[in-house]
């Protein structure tokens, strides 16, 4: 049995992901007397509920604005609606079978890769059910855990769309999302976060979902972009972002919401969450400034979009490292991720010639990989990280690399399958007329702006 419900298991030890148990904190916060059953602290519950809300804010309006501002005005509503609608779809299938596949009880399926349908339709979950945290004896209401994880599924599929907006059909998006979540997201979430999951058992470090969310979304986005082809006119035609103002607003909201994502991933309101919080501040601040510096060193002006891109790259990179690094490790990680993503987006992409409309791969994929691998480095106590004194960086690097490679392969194959199913049923791509006139009018019958 994986997630204790109703009757929480007293001896519940560290349950999910790859996080040191902050024994010192636990000591401070746990009730002094031996707790015969796991207890729920309302402070944790409050923190996890607000964290969940913050992740929703990352999607709508956050990501919708970040991505939407980068699109052309004629596709604005299409971008926002696709993001909103796949998020809704993800929420529904999450409660129907997604949560069960990722975090449900074992079943006949190979439990290394996936759980079973035992909690389909949230069978057996009540307001009194509890889910474990990383601290023995401390639990949170299971509904809260379900909601928190639900928002992760929702944002991940929304991120993928960044590479194919401005040309993919709304119906194709919906069908793709359904298949992709089922065959790519739920298994990888299980592998990373559930006891018995492959990466989890390997001891891969992924505090808040660098692998599951960012590498996964980024690689899927790249594959999808190559499968669907370039936008008409790319790269010769002017396709400047229609509103960097909105992109900047989206960036701010993403940063704000990301504290729910990263510090919320501690599952408690404790010192681990606090560490994740400070790292999420400074890695991001560093990355924002370093992208602008990279631009200056490349002979260009430091740009607003560069600043925003750096912020996101930093947030992505610090995601797996949030509770697995000291603040100064995080600063370096943010800077490195920013510079690497800068080159991926401005040098690599034009060279390889694929059309990743909004750089979902260039920032989430590449930044995610830098973060996943960098986490093994900044985790070292010698670099201010929380690793134990006998931390073996080489071994951990191997584990991280393996997780990254498997994720890449899984995402690439799953995306290909999902795309061809979506294409077969819906056609996949809008007609050239609709693409030229804009998806807002062609797909939704509306204009974003009527001044």
């Amino acid at each position: 049995m994986k997630l204790p419900t109703g009757l929480a298991i007293a001896a519940g030890t560290t349950f999910f992901a790859a996080l040191p148990a902050w024994a010192q904190d636990a000591a401070l916060q746990a009730p002094a007397a031996a707790a015969p059953a796991a207890t729920v602290d309302k402070g944790d519950t409050a923190w996890m509920m607000i964290s969940t809300v913050l992740v929703l804010a990352m999607i709508l309006p956050g990501l919708a604005l970040f991505y939407g501002g980068l699109a052309r005005a004629k596709n604005m509503l299409s971008v926002m609606t696709q993001i909103g609608a796949v998020a809704c779809l993800a929420m529904l299938i999450w409660v129907i079978y997604g949560y069960s596949l990722a975090f449900g009880p074992e079943s006949a399926l190979p439990s290394k890769f996936i759980a079973g349908f035992g909690k389909a339709f949230l069978a057996g979950v009540t307001p009194a059910s509890q889910a474990a945290t990383f601290t023995a004896g401390v639990e949170i209401p299971e509904y809260v855990f379900i909601c928190f994880q639900m928002t992760f599924a929702a944002i991940t599929i929304a991120l993928v769309l960044g590479s194919v907006v401005e040309r993919i059909k709304f119906s194709a998006v919906m069908l793709f999302a359904l298949v992709w979540l089922t065959i790519v997201y739920f298994p990888i979430a299980h592998m990373v976060w559930a006891t018995g999951g492959w990466f989890f058992d390997m001891g891969a470090l992924d505090f808040a979902g660098g692998t599951v969310v960012h590498i996964n979304a980024g690689v899927s986005a790249l594959v999808l972009a190559m499968l669907i082809g370039k936008r008409i006119g790319y790269p010769t035609e002017r396709m400047a972002p229609h509103s960097l103002t909105l992109t900047m607003v989206g960036t701010g909201l993403l940063w704000v919401g990301w504290f729910g994502f990263n510090a919320g991933s501690a599952l408690e309101a404790n010192g681990s969450a606090a560490l994740a919080m400070i790292n999420t501040f400074v890695a991001t601040a560093s990355a924002g400034l370093f992208w602008m510096l990279a631009e200056r060193f490349s002979g260009h002006k430091g740009s607003a979009l560069g600043f925003c891109s750096g912020i996101i790259a930093g947030l992505v990179a610090v995601t797996p490292a949030a509770g697995n690094s000291g603040p100064f490790g995080a600063i370096v990680l943010g800077a490195v991720a920013s510079i690497v993503c800068y080159f991926a987006v401005t040098v690599l992409k034009p060279k390889l010639g694929y059309d990743d409309s909004l750089d979902a791969f260039g920032i989430h994929g590449v930044g995610g990989m830098v973060g996943a691998i960098g986490t093994a480095i900044v985790y070292a106590p010698s670099l201010g990280g929380p690793g134990a004194a006998d931390y073996d960086m080489g071994a951990k690097l191997g584990v991280q690399l393996l997780a990254v490679v498997v994720t890449i392969a899984w995402a690439a194959i799953g995306t290909t399958i999902a795309f061809f199913i979506a294409k077969a049923v819906t056609g996949g791509r809008v007609s050239p007329e609709v693409e030229i006139e804009g998806l807002d009018l062609g797909e939704h019958g509306e204009r974003a702006y009527n001044y």
């Binding site: 035609e237 030229i436 006139e437 009018l441 019958g445 509306e446 204009r447």
Partner: protein, 112 residues
Amino acid sequence: MKLVIAIIKPFKLDDVREALTEVGVAGMTVTEVKGFGRQKGQTEIYRGAEYSTNMVPKIKIEIVCASDVAPRVVEAVQASANTGAIGDGKIFVLDVGQAVRIRTGETDETAL
């Protein structure tokens, strides 16, 4: 001198500009406009309120050129803006009495 006014489809602007450069037109002025004509606009619906605009976004290009160049300009626009579909637009030619370059005060054809 002539003022050639061309109303074209927005996405044809780059093609037209290139075609004009080839016939030696160095300057022009571009305005975003809305056109009514045979081409019908999209129907939009907002919570049941249906608007069929009849107004289609167009680009207006204005070029002042020497009278003898005008036919080639017209031809170049007509060739490059043509898609064969309704709504490709119109070209109108008017007489211009005088032209001045503000910077230098040069007049007429040297001002263009």
